[in-house]
């Protein structure tokens, strides 16, 4: 096998036999997988800079990437605390939504009656626009932070709940029979069968909920209008707009995008780590 691989590497053989023995992902392909996206992003940035430069667009209308980078470094003392606030709200909301979603899903599937009673409430909470709830929450909560947290939680909670309910219900009936046969308790059935079987669904909920909790944290801050030391990136973004400090607005926007990308990356990684050995979604097709 190693000999054949070497041959393939040396003259890129067209021999079908050699082709089969080659590792599926060649080094070239691995490099290209990283190089191509990076090149595309760099090209877009270069194009942006070029448009701004050659058209003499003033930076209060459209700053170039260089201006944004400069703003990012000079305004860092303002942006970093704001980023921290947004991250705290996003991740606290996500964690509470994960715990709440999983626990409520487990309770819901215990009995059809509980599900019938509780599920409509969660749907109503989900479909009501978060921007409309935010002002109300401001009245009832002691401070803005908690109102923002609740908003982000409400948005992230539902996809996690509904995915978990679907996952807990989608257990192979024969496996349930098997557990009955060996006299498994409800608790054993939950721990050894239902929760592991729901893993792929949980991971879908995590990925959706992670992205949504950031969006909700930003939208809620727009609606709630926080200010001062405890304000997040959304407030800094609005503030920069009022002051026509467009480079800083872009810098805040950039941080939000990067946060979103990071959340997506982390949740995807968690999902892959959990499912890679057994679930079809995380395994490469072998033909």
């Amino acid at each position: 096998m190693s000999v054949a691989t070497e041959v393939a590497a040396r003259d890129d053989g067209t021999d079908a036999q050699v082709e089969i023995l080659r590792p599926r992902t060649s080094t070239n392909e691995k490099v290209l997988r990283i190089v191509i996206p990076v090149v595309v992003v760099l090209a877009v940035i270069a194009l942006w800079q070029a448009i701004v430069y050659f058209n003499h667009i003033p930076k209060y209308i459209l700053p170039g990437p260089a201006d944004v980078a400069l703003s990012l470094s000079t305004d860092w003392p303002i942006l970093l605390p704001a980023l921290w606030v947004t991250l705290t709200i996003t991740f606290s909301a996500l964690i509470v939504a994960l715990i709440g979603g999983v626990v409520l899903a487990v309770v819901l599937v215990q009995s059809r009656w509980i599900e019938l009673a509780v599920y409509p409430l969660t749907v109503i909470l989900q479909v009501t626009p978060i921007v409309a709830i935010a002002p109300l929450l401001l009245i009832y909560t002691p401070n803005t932070q908690i109102a923002l947290l609740i908003c982000a939680f409400l948005v992230a909670f539902f996809p996690i709940l509904s995915n978990m309910v679907a996952g807990l219900k989608s257990v192979d009936h024969n496996l349930l029979n098997l557990f009955d046969l060996y006299g498994a308790s409800r608790w054993q059935q939950l721990i050894y069968l239902k929760l592991p079987a729901a893993q792929p669904y949980f991971m879908t909920g995590l990925k959706i909920g992670g992205g949504l909790s950031l969006i909700a944290a930003v939208v809620a801050e727009f609606a709630a209008g926080s200010s001062g030391a405890g304000s997040g990136l959304a407030f800094r973004l609005l503030e920069a707009q009022y002051r026509l400090n467009i480079p800083r607005l872009f810098a805040a926007l950039l941080l939000l995008s990067l946060t979103g990308v990071a959340i997506f990356g982390i949740t995807s990684l968690i999902s892959w780590l959990a499912l890679r050995r057994w679930h079809e979604s995380a395994v490469r097709r072998e033909n």
């Binding site: 046969l181 006299g183 057994w278």
Partner: protein
């Protein structure tokens, strides 16, 4: 395992007044047309469904709250029914785990069961990495790991190719001889039932009932030679005819 009597009928009349006594160490095949309630009967024996009327009597005195002899039944489903997130070891360990046996205490028993089915080298593999036949072997190992007195098999090899099926038939025969377990084997294959069992219960459909109960005697070992013997052919012919009669009676009643 004496006097397993079952008298039973339900709304759709899947089984009607069916009685069957299984002796210890027997290898019984339940054979019949589809819809004759053979799987239903097996599930009721396993306690996976309540009979509408009638009872299942066990000789054993140590019967648990569900009216079943504890840990004494192994069940092999039509599909391998493995947990895809568990390794082969984890899947075979399951029945012991549910009984509260620790992993270290269970290890020798799990490995012994895996060795029995020839999969000792695959303990860390995941089900999706195995072929259909190997998955079925894992399923059999799981059923054997509790050292059951009674092994129930519900058309376990129906979805497998003929070559794999023959191999697994031989394995099941070998396991039956070495462990002395009582086997009730549901199948719709005449050849499989004659090859494996020392007693064939032919069932009729609508309502599901025992049609005939015929012993299969062999003078030789059950192996490739037996498969080619006149004795085997004669038994197959006889069982086939009984099955035809059962289908005819069922169809006439419909």
């Amino acid at each position: 395992m004496n006097h397993v009597t079952k008298v039973f009928s339900n709304g759709t009349l899947a089984l009607s007044d069916m009685s069957l006594t299984v002796g210890e160490g027997e290898f019984i095949s339940l054979l019949g047309p589809s819809g004759c309630g053979k799987s239903t009967a097996l599930r009721i024996i396993a306690g996976l469904g309540e009979p509408s009327s009638g009872t299942i009597d066990w000789p054993s005195s140590k019967i648990d709250a569900r009216g079943l002899p504890e840990g004494d039944i192994g069940f092999v489903f039509q599909e391998p029914t493995l947990m895809p997130w568990q390794t082969v070891f984890g899947n075979v360990y399951l029945p012991l785990r549910l009984q509260g046996v620790s992993k270290s205490a269970a290890r020798p028993r799990v490995m012994a069961a895996l060795t029995e089915v020839g999969l000792a080298d695959f303990e860390t593999a995941f089900p999706r990495e195995l072929s259909g036949g190997m998955k079925m072997r894992v399923s059999i190992a799981r059923a054997l790991v509790t050292s059951p007195k009674l092994l129930l098999m519900d058309e376990p090899f129906a979805a497998l190719d003929e070559i794999t099926r023959q191999k697994l038939n031989d394995d099941v025969l070998r396991l039956w001889k070495t462990t002395g377990v009582t086997v009730i084997f549901v199948t719709h294959s005449v050849f499989e039932s004659v090859y494996l069992s020392n007693r064939i219960v032919v069932m009729r459909a609508r309502p599901g009932q025992v049609f005939t109960d015929m012993p299969i005697h062999t003078s030789s070992e059950r192996d490739e030679l037996y498969r080619a013997s006149e004795e085997y052919r004669a038994a197959c012919f006889e069982v086939s005819r009984a099955l035809q009669d059962a289908i005819h009676v069922g169809g006439g009643a419909h």
